[in-house]
């Protein structure tokens, strides 16, 4: 049973790669190289800061775009192209399909991030002429970024299981942007009164809280990240992702494939 999930995940990964998604690495490499060289020439004293900020932000944004663009069509494309018919007529359970698709895309993003991380460390080495132990926190920032990817992928998958690609894209992007300000929104909600307050707080808790997963500027300033934060973020991201995936499964289980 679980092997089927792995097969589907592997096939999803293969699909993404053959869809030339990894070509984005070329654009990223160009960006990092140009930035590193430029910054090295100007030598304004904050080379390390720029490389880390730029590199991690680029990894985050590139990845979010990939997560959304591929995520929203994970299910809808298969339904539209009817490739799903011959898959579901086999002993594949619908939930296995959803989970497999998710893992495939998540895996793609992890691989993508891995290569990009090499690029960032390479650029850092170039401008700073060496790494120091504090740069290890960059790995934590990368880990948090991957957690963000998991959440966004799950959200995109959720929308894909019942909505058209266009609408899914709009919703997913909106949730990403809103999620980046989720902390402020929870405060706004807290300032409301009465029934609105509870509704607003409820809605604010349902939003993906991406702001606490963004430690890019802290890491750029070589500040350490507490173990507590790492643990809490991990639990939160995994639970949130699980929630979205369960939602996808529930929707997809009942869907008539016309």
């Amino acid at each position: 049973m679980s092997l089927r999930v792995a097969y589907i995940a592997a096939n999803t990964f293969r699909e993404a790669v053959r869809d030339r998604v990894l070509y984005n690495l070329i654009a990223f490499a160009l960006l990092m190289s140009a930035a590193a060289i430029l910054v090295g020439q100007i030598s304004i004293g904050i080379e390390r800061l720029v490389v880390v900020n730029l590199g991690l932000t680029a990894i985050s944004l590139f990845g979010i775009v990939i997560a959304i663009f591929i995520g929203i069509s994970l299910v809808s494309k298969e339904i539209e192209k009817r490739t799903l018919y011959t898959v579901l007529s086999r002993p594949v359970q619908r939930w296995e399909f959803i989970v497999g698709k998710f893992l495939g895309l998540a895996g793609t993003l992890v691989v993508n991030t891995f290569f990009m991380a090499i690029g960032v460390f390479g650029a850092l080495l170039y401008v700073a002429h060496g790494l120091n132990p504090q740069d290890g926190w960059i790995a934590v920032a990368l880990y948090f970024i991957i957690l963000q990817f998991l959440m966004i992928t799950a959200i995109a998958l959720l929308f894909s299981s019942f909505s058209t690609p266009l609408l899914s894209a709009v919703f997913a992007f909106s949730l990403f942007i809103i999620g980046s300000f989720a902390g402020d929104l929870r405060s706004f909600a807290g300032m409301a009164q009465g029934v609105t307050r509870w509704l607003a707080i409820g809605a604010a808790y349902l939003l993906p809280n991406l702001s606490s997963l963004n430690v890019i500027s802290s890491v750029a300033h070589q500040q350490p990240i507490s173990i507590q934060l790492i643990l809490s973020n991990t639990i939160y991201a995994l639970v949130y992702t699980g929630m979205a995936i369960c939602g996808s499964v529930l929707i997809f289980e009942r869907r008539n494939l016309k």
């Binding site: 405060s187 808790y205 802290s218 500040q223 507590q228 639990i235 929630m243 369960c246 499964v249 289980e253």
Partner: protein, 312 residues
Amino acid sequence: MTTHARTTKIAATALLVCLVSTAFALHHLDRIQTQTTSEDVLYLSSPKVLKRLSLGYDGLLADLYWTRAIQYFGTKHYQHARDYKLLAPLLEITTTLDPHLIVAYEFGANFLAPPPPFGSGMPQRAIRLVEYGIRNNPDDWKLYYNLGFIDYMELKDYAQAADAFARGAKVPNAHPALKVMAAEMAQHAGDSQMAQIMWTTAFQSAKDPYIRANAITHLRALQVDQDISSLETLISVYRQKTGHPPSSFTDLQEIGLLRALPLDPFGHAYKLTPGGRVELRDPDNFPFITKGTPPGYVAPPVRFRPEDLGAS
């Protein structure tokens, strides 16, 4: 049970579990993150860079920062904080992103200029902020008023204050008080009457709850100071007449110096101590007072009354 029903049940249960866990996890995250560093709150300390990065959506970003500023102030205020270090950069970023957000300048005048624990203690920075506001909004009388306000209240520079009020009075639709204050400044600078006009104008012209609450509280304090000054005058008159201090206010009433028992703005009677001092029953209710406190009194940190914050 069919596998379909089983899957649905498992998925639904898992969904519920995850939902609840999400709420708890998020709550926990919020708790360990309340000590946000200034970097996290501001993202970027340079207003100009932030404006460029906002890709033209500076209005929205300004609103966001304004809300952060209010939140920051409110949280600190609630916690009886003794300083508001980040208020200045927050307001500066807000106004760089949106130079026409007048309320931000008013807020700065009210809470950047006064010394801690009432404000940030940065009157010069407040002046720079308001002058920037005037440059971008030359026809808004409130900004000239705010400028004069800072000069008068914090810097005690009455000449500058008069100048600011005079400039403001020339603006169309200016509040009539500006002309009056400009004119009276030469003679009556330092008068409590002057202060009363200024705080009343502040209350009338502002819509922000904190600014209005601040104004009401100051007006109350002025009232108390005035009441007590009058009472002290009456007491010395009594002393002259009878040769000894009065033992209670009824003494003053008996010889016709006082008609009714004096009450503070909350309706409680003033106390007359054996030493001949007039004191409030609850001085803690009156921030900003300069009279009416017992010897050795230490004022608690300022906290606005909820009724004042909700006052329309």
